[in-house]
């Protein structure tokens, strides 16, 4: 039942915020904030209560919904889902905080949309009935469209429509793939169902499996986004209001990564293994392409948007390398990218609120007037370039370590992304905060509210960088289970096609575990 509450609290909060917004423009903020705080606190308590529980799910709820078609209301969480639900609540709080002074018009409707996006995302992370998953997948789109289209910047309608059409198109392809799987499973076993657990291990002919896998993959690759499906992202991130960018970068992209982890590989292990060279090439291309595009931007927000393409490339690389190291790295990268990029978007939003521009050419010398903001941007830029000691380093390093076992050349190419990351990250700091203050900007430094937000994010990113082990210990059972499921279905199909190890990587693994990073 707690899983339903995770979704109901933001959804009901959204309705309440809308209702109260008609009377008073400050109440909706507090409603939104409390809804997400409630979710975070209950989530953390729930995590501590259930840690180390041995069942397949930490909690689940299964009710009939449309029994005629085999649709059930099936929510369940393992540690992986729970981590992402917690991240959703956390980023939700950050998004509310970042919108606190930025959004002054129609606040009720704004927080309604914000909370409904969050409810949809939470649903995506919890749903294990494929129809329900698709339901939530579509549910989060409309409010996000409104957030961008109504409260966005100059070119908002174009960006919002592009975002919507890309994701809707790919979502429908996924629906066709879901239905394909449903019918194949129904015809071979006689049970027509959308239940994830029952659909696992459906025996498929190689060609069918490949087509269905591609249907899912495209939907998730658009969300992730991977080149060549990324072109909605720079527009949407740039034009969205700060809170929208935080949600997009911090959470919406992660639904794509989660989908790959939870659905694509376990449901179609053989096809995914066959496809993995292509996916990993796409990942490497995304890493480099995103980074190179970032180098060419003068719009600060667009620059950060392109770095997301690059960083999410690591997640894709890690997932399709499909070994424990790479998967741990991907999960870590999902969390840390959410925090660091979310923080950068909040900072850019705060900057734009003060100086009303995002143009790097007009900035410079801001450190002298806003040292606290400068320090925060510096820290999260360093996180973004993968400085050891901050969370992103752990994620990207583990992904590369794992990917090395799958393909050496691609790992080499992907690690080039580190160099470009250094360039653009340092560039952000240098061009904004260093040098002379040519335009004579004057503005107040970070407020107490903003400082508090940054402090929380800083603590988290440093903690994840120094002590990542608790996270790994927590998600390891889930990852192990996903690997078992994938291996099991592969075995059931009598085809042994493990992703071939190129080098004897056990040596690396052993060396790594001595440092206490990997269990």
């Amino acid at each position: 039942m707690i899983l339903v509450w995770f979704i109901i609290v933001p959804a009901a909060g959204g309705l309440l915020a809308w209702f109260l917004g008609r009377m008073n423009s400050t109440w909706p903020k507090w409603v939104a904030l409390s809804a997400m705080v409630i979710n975070l606190i209950t989530g953390v308590f729930f995590a501590f209560e259930r840690v180390g529980s041995t069942g397949p799910w930490l909690a689940e709820i299964q009710l009939p919904w449309v029994p005629q078609l085999g649709i059930g209301f099936f929510l369940a969480t393992d540690s992986l889902s729970l981590v992402l639900v917690l991240l959703t609540a956390l980023m939700g709080i950050m998004a509310v905080a970042s919108a606190w002074t930025e959004i002054n018009e129609r606040t009720g409707f704004f927080y309604f949309n914000l909370l409904w996006v969050l409810a949809g995302i939470t649903g995506v992370f919890l749903a294990l009935d494929l129809f329900l998953f698709y339901f939530f997948w579509e549910l989060m789109l409309v409010p996000m469209y409104f957030i961008i289209a109504i409260w966005g910047h100059e070119n908002r309608v174009y960006a919002a429509s592009k975002f919507f059409l890309f994701t809707q198109m790919s979502g429908l392809l996924m629906l066709v793939a879901i239905l394909g799987l449903y019918f194949v499973h129904g015809r071979s076993t006689g049970t027509y169902t959308f239940d994830y657990m029952q659909l696992l291990g459906t025996s498929l002919s190689p060609a069918t499996a490949m087509w269905l896998m591609l249907g899912f993959f495209i939907a998730f690759a658009v969300k992730l986004p991977a080149v060549p499906f990324h072109s909605w992202l720079p527009d949407a991130h740039t034009e969205a209001p700060t809170a929208g960018s935080v949600i997009l970068a911090g959470l919406l992209l992660k639904t794509g990564a989660y989908g790959l982890l939870r659905f694509v590989v376990p449901l179609f292990p053989v096809a995914a293994a066959e496809f993995s060279p292509v996916a990993m090439i796409l990942a490497a291309v995304s890493i480099l392409y995103g980074a190179l595009q970032a180098l060419g931007q003068t719009d600060l927000k667009k620059l950060i948007a392109y770095t997301s393409v690059s960083h999410m490339g690591f997640v894709l690389l890690g997932i399709f390398a499909w070994n424990r190291l790479a998967l741990q790295g991907a999960v870590m990268q999902i969390i840390c990218h959410g925090i660091s990029t979310g923080a950068l978007f909040i900072l850019v939003g705060a900057l734009q609120e003060r100086i009303h521009t995002r143009d790097l050419n007009r900035m410079g010398g801001l450190w002298s007037i806003m040292p606290r903001m400068g320090a925060a941007v510096m820290l999260f830029s360093l996180a973004s370039l993968g400085l050891p000691g901050l969370g992103n380093f752990i994620g990207e390093f583990l992904v590369l370590l794992g990917a090395f076992r799958a393909s050496v050349p691609l790992t080499v190419v992907a690690s080039l992304g580190f160099i470009t990351a250094c360039v653009y990250s340092l560039w952000i700091v240098q061009r904004t905060f260093h040098g002379p203050n040519r335009e004579g900007w004057k503005s107040p430094d970070l407020s107490i509210r903003e400082t508090a937000v940054m402090a929380v994010m800083t603590v988290l990113i440093v903690w994840l960088g120094l002590f990542p082990q608790p996270v790994f210990t927590f998600v390891n059972p889930s990852l192990a289970r996903l690997e078992r499921i994938a291996a099991g279905s592969r075995h059931a199909m009598q085809i042994d096609g493990p992703i071939t190890a190129v080098l004897p990587a056990q040596a690396f693994e052993a060396a790594f575990s001595q440092h206490g990073e990997c269990p």
Binding site: W65, Q68, V157, A160, Q168
Partner: protein, 478 residues
């Protein structure tokens, strides 16, 4: 005719009796409210006496068959007609001239649609089509002092009359060839016809009937009247044309070709696929170019009929259920959309330009909210009934492995989203500062507001809890 027969066709009798009663009452005493109440009583009685349990086998009538399927469609059509009338009630209050005849015409048109849904003979089929069309000629042009309405009425008259002639000629040819006018007996002869080398008389007859049916449904390439009539007709009549008229003809189509009877590879399958693809693409692409909300909805209705053909072609019981369910969700959404247009319009002053709706959300939040919900449903997004409907259609298509049709459906509905988003966005645009004195916003009728509330509730209920309706449909279709 035994009493049992009479009880089976009681819905028809109720609607027909109401028409006659209203006609007599208008001759004696004109009272707008009483006429309206009498009309609604007739429709309510028709729904109340639906013979759910009477099987066709027990009561074979020469022209009509009242099985569960006919009962379901009758219920749907009569309810939709009642919905249009509830909107029309507030709308016509602002009309200066004679208003009561409107209800007679609506009742007769509804009767025609119900006859179509239960007809099992070419005679009843044609009778239904003509009752519906002839009433609609007058209804489209009802506020006859306005040129736009009259123009639309004449346009509809000319084209609909031609299409009726096509249907009649087609029937004659088929009768000449098969020697029967009972749909049950003709069906098998039509369905099995191969792509090449079929009987030419039969083929010609079938083609002519399809032209007529395609016209009434507004399918490409017989769709040219749709945008003009949708735009020109008064808003409540447009709602009626979009729901009852098309629904009745669709019911007749399902009667003529029960789902599952069209074999892939037959000439019928080929023709219907081509029509479906053309309708989905043309409807969605042409809607992109429109700046008039009624025309946008007209083109979108072309596309939606195309979607329904996909499930219609997928066959088996699932195809039939999917079409029926989709039709329900479509009825709710389109009635709601035209309902909002109606309550904002008055005879001769239709709110139809997309600019009229600029910033509606900040002026009339409830109305804009309802309209948004309807548009989201038409676009097939979750929490609205259209989401489940579209899902069911795609499911039927995938289940029958009609990949080309499903892919066209997916692609064209993504294109379609673009204009739905445009309409939605217009509601939320910040309004420009008003220039000069602004006309005060009109209050709208209570009946309209209540109907909209009920429709919105149904929209969300079907979108969240479709299971009971699935049960109902599946018992009827099997």
């Amino acid at each position: 005719m035994t009493p049992a027969d009479l009880s089976v066709i009681s819905p028809l009798i109720c609607v027909g009796a109401a028409a006659i009663a209203v006609m007599l009452m208008v001759a004696v005493h004109r009272s707008y409210v009483t006429t309206f109440l009498l009309t609604m009583t007739g429709l309510a009685a028709a729904v109340a006496t639906l013979p759910w349990r009477a099987g066709a086998a027990h009561h074979p009538l020469p022209l009509l068959v009242f099985d569960g399927y006919a009962a379901l469609f009758t219920g749907l059509l009569v309810t939709a007609a009642a919905g249009s009338l509830l909107f029309a009630f507030g709308y016509l209050r602002k009309y200066e001239s004679n208003r009561e005849e409107f209800f007679i015409l609506m009742l007769l048109a509804t009767l025609g649609a119900v006859v179509l849904a239960s007809g099992n003979h070419f005679a009843s089929f044609f009778l239904g089509i003509e009752l519906l069309s002839v009433s609609l000629y007058a209804l489209v042009a009802y506020p006859h002092k306005t040129d736009a309405h009259t123009e639309a009425g004449v346009k509809y008259l000319v084209l609909a009359a031609v299409s009726s002639a096509f249907i009649l000629f087609g029937m004659a040819l088929i009768y000449a060839d098969t020697g029967s006018m009972v749909i049950d007996r003709i069906g098998p002869a039509l369905r099995g016809m191969p792509l090449r080398g079929g009987d030419p008389w039969l083929l010609a007859g079938l083609a002519m009937m399809l032209v007529g049916i395609g016209f009434k449904l507004g399918l490409v390439p017989f769709h040219l009247w749709t945008p003009d009539v949708y735009q020109g007709a008064p808003a409540p009549v447009t709602a009626f044309v979009a729901t009852v008229s098309k629904g009745g003809v669709l019911a007749a189509l399902l009667r003529l070709f029960p789902p599952g009877d069209i074999h892939t590879g037959s000439s019928l399958f080929f023709v219907f696929s081509a029509i479906a693809i053309a309708s989905m693409l043309a409807g969605n692409l042409l809607a992109l170019l429109q700046n008039n909300v009624k025309r946008i909805l007209a083109y979108s209705s072309i596309a939606h009929l195309g979607y329904m053909l996909v499930a219609f072609l997928s066959g088996r019981s699932q195809g039939g259920s999917a079409v029926t369910f989709y039709l329900m969700t479509y009825f709710i959404s389109i009635l709601g959309a035209f309902g909002v247009i109606t309550v904002l319009s008055a005879p001769g002053r239709e709110m139809e330009s997309i600019d009229d709706y600029r910033g509606l959300f900040w002026r009339r939040p409830w109305l804009a909210g309802v309209f948004s919900a309807m548009v989201l449903s038409l676009a097939g997004l979750p929490l609205a009934a259209g989401f489940i409907g579209k899902f069911y259609l795609i499911m039927a298509g995938v289940g029958a492995t009609l990949w080309t049709l499903v892919i066209v459906l997916v692609l064209s509905s993504t294109v379609g989203l673009y204009y739905y988003l445009r309409v939605l966005f217009i509601f939320f645009v910040k309004q420009p500062e008003p220039q000069g004195p602004v006309a005060p916003e009109q209050a709208f009728s209570l009946s309209g507001a209540l109907t909209l509330a009920v429709l919105t509730f149904l929209l969300i209920w079907l979108g969240v809890m479709p299971a009971p309706i699935f049960d109902l449909i599946q018992t009827v279709v099997h």
